[in-house]
Subunit: 249 residues, 2 copies
């Protein structure tokens, strides 16, 4: 068994022994929802004639000439009618317990995706009964197939970590946004209690952004609510940038 088929130039072909799949944990911030439920994840309901459908993450099998990222974006397109071509997308982890799927050895490469705003139209794809945004706090109530609940946990952990040392938060905002909206994103992801932090202190935490000029004022928000409307900003920096010092929250 030591003479197993390993890397060997004389072997022109390797025999496939597994099925590759991708699943996508797509997060968004729903502004209308209360802060504690603003962070939501996209779930699709597997259509089933017997009525015994189940909730799963959008996912597809990887095609032979396709990268994982391409497959992940295709999953969002085919399962929910979303054009994720330009969205933030990152590999999370790969799940492939031997007994994970009775139909064969399946390895699913979970991905994390983020989308701005919530005025998207979900269009259930083929073999999909329904699509919905589910507050992360309430995922426990849903019965998710496979290890998709675990994937969501990993996704939450990842975005909580990323938001503290990188600028991914702007992936969840529109082109123009106010500082309170930005604070809401951080509060929804990290801690609802963060909203109680004074506005001045929050802006101080974002100081490196202002100093480097990647946050530019582009006007004043038109308000519908009470109180003074906030200044509108635009994020002009690369999302791949990271802070030198992690946020303390």
């Amino acid at each position: 068994m030591l003479a197993e088929t390993t890397l060997n130039q004389t072997t022109p072909e390797l025999i496939p022994n597994a099925v590759l799949a991708v699943d996508v944990v797509l997060f968004t911030i729903v502004r209308k929802a209360p802060l504690s439920e603003a962070l939501q994840v996209l779930l699709v309901h597997q259509g089933d004639q017997s009525g015994h459908g189940r909730w799963i993450l959008p996912g597809v099998l990887v095609r032979s000439s396709e990268t994982f990222a391409e497959a992940a974006r295709r999953a969002l397109a085919e399962k929910a009618g979303l054009d994720a071509a330009t969205w933030y997308l990152d590999q999370l982890a790969t799940y492939g317990e031997p007994a994970r799927d009775s139909r064969g050895r399946v390895a699913s490469i979970a991905h994390l995706a983020l989308v701005r705003s919530d005025d998207l139209t979900l269009r259930p794809g083929i073999d999909v009964g329904a699509t919905e945004w589910c507050p992360v706090k309430r995922v426990e109530e849903r019965v998710l197939a496979f290890d998709h609940a675990e994937m969501i946990r990993a996704g939450v952990q990842r975005i909580r970590s990323k938001v503290r040392y990188s600028w991914v938060a702007f992936q969840l905002l529109n082109e123009k946004f106010t500082i309170p909206e930005l604070r809401a994103v951080y509060a929804a992801i990290l801690d609802p209690g963060l909203a109680r932090l004074s506005s001045g202190n929050f802006k101080k935490a974002m100081r490196p952004l202002f100093e480097s000029g990647v946050l530019q004022v582009v006007g004043r928000a038109t308000t519908g609510r009470r109180g003074r409307p906030g200044d509108l900003y635009r994020f002009a920096g690369p999302v791949t940038g990271t802070r030198e010092r992690e946020l303390p929250w």
Copy 2:
């Protein structure tokens, strides 16, 4: 939550479309080496009759009934004669560009492993020409096959991140160790200049460990070098624990 069994009778089998492999980025700290080269990674040389061997990470194909972690430990056993049964092991990322391997679609799940001390005997396995510890600083000089150089970069990034908010550093030390040895691990992974930090400040950074009692004094080191020998400590806590506050280094 696993063990999917009876839900999709219409498709009893999925046709395998890829080959699953694991590769292991195994780090250790070599005490004899200078600090800047103390962090080393295990490389194996693919034996080749033509003499055109190349350096790669230890890896194997995943067996059908095997978890990724099991396959990763087996890779260390088969390629380098190492018994990694109890070693720290963590999934890094999965690499599977369509054109990654000309012999077919291969997805390799890279893993990060850590091993205490360097008094291990490497025993080159079958179809392995040689095994060696390579200082991470000098990996650039080696020509690594596939995307293994990228895997090592990801491994370095991961361990640098982990060491700042978790207790993985103790995985690289023996059962008993001194504070200066612990500082050497941090310096080797994060920044050699860290060794210039005063001992008091380093111990202050480790204060949460002392206060929670997971670092216990077990004696005094027997010295061979100059100067006062350090106190010997034992780490009694779970490696999975994390600090509430990340290290500033």
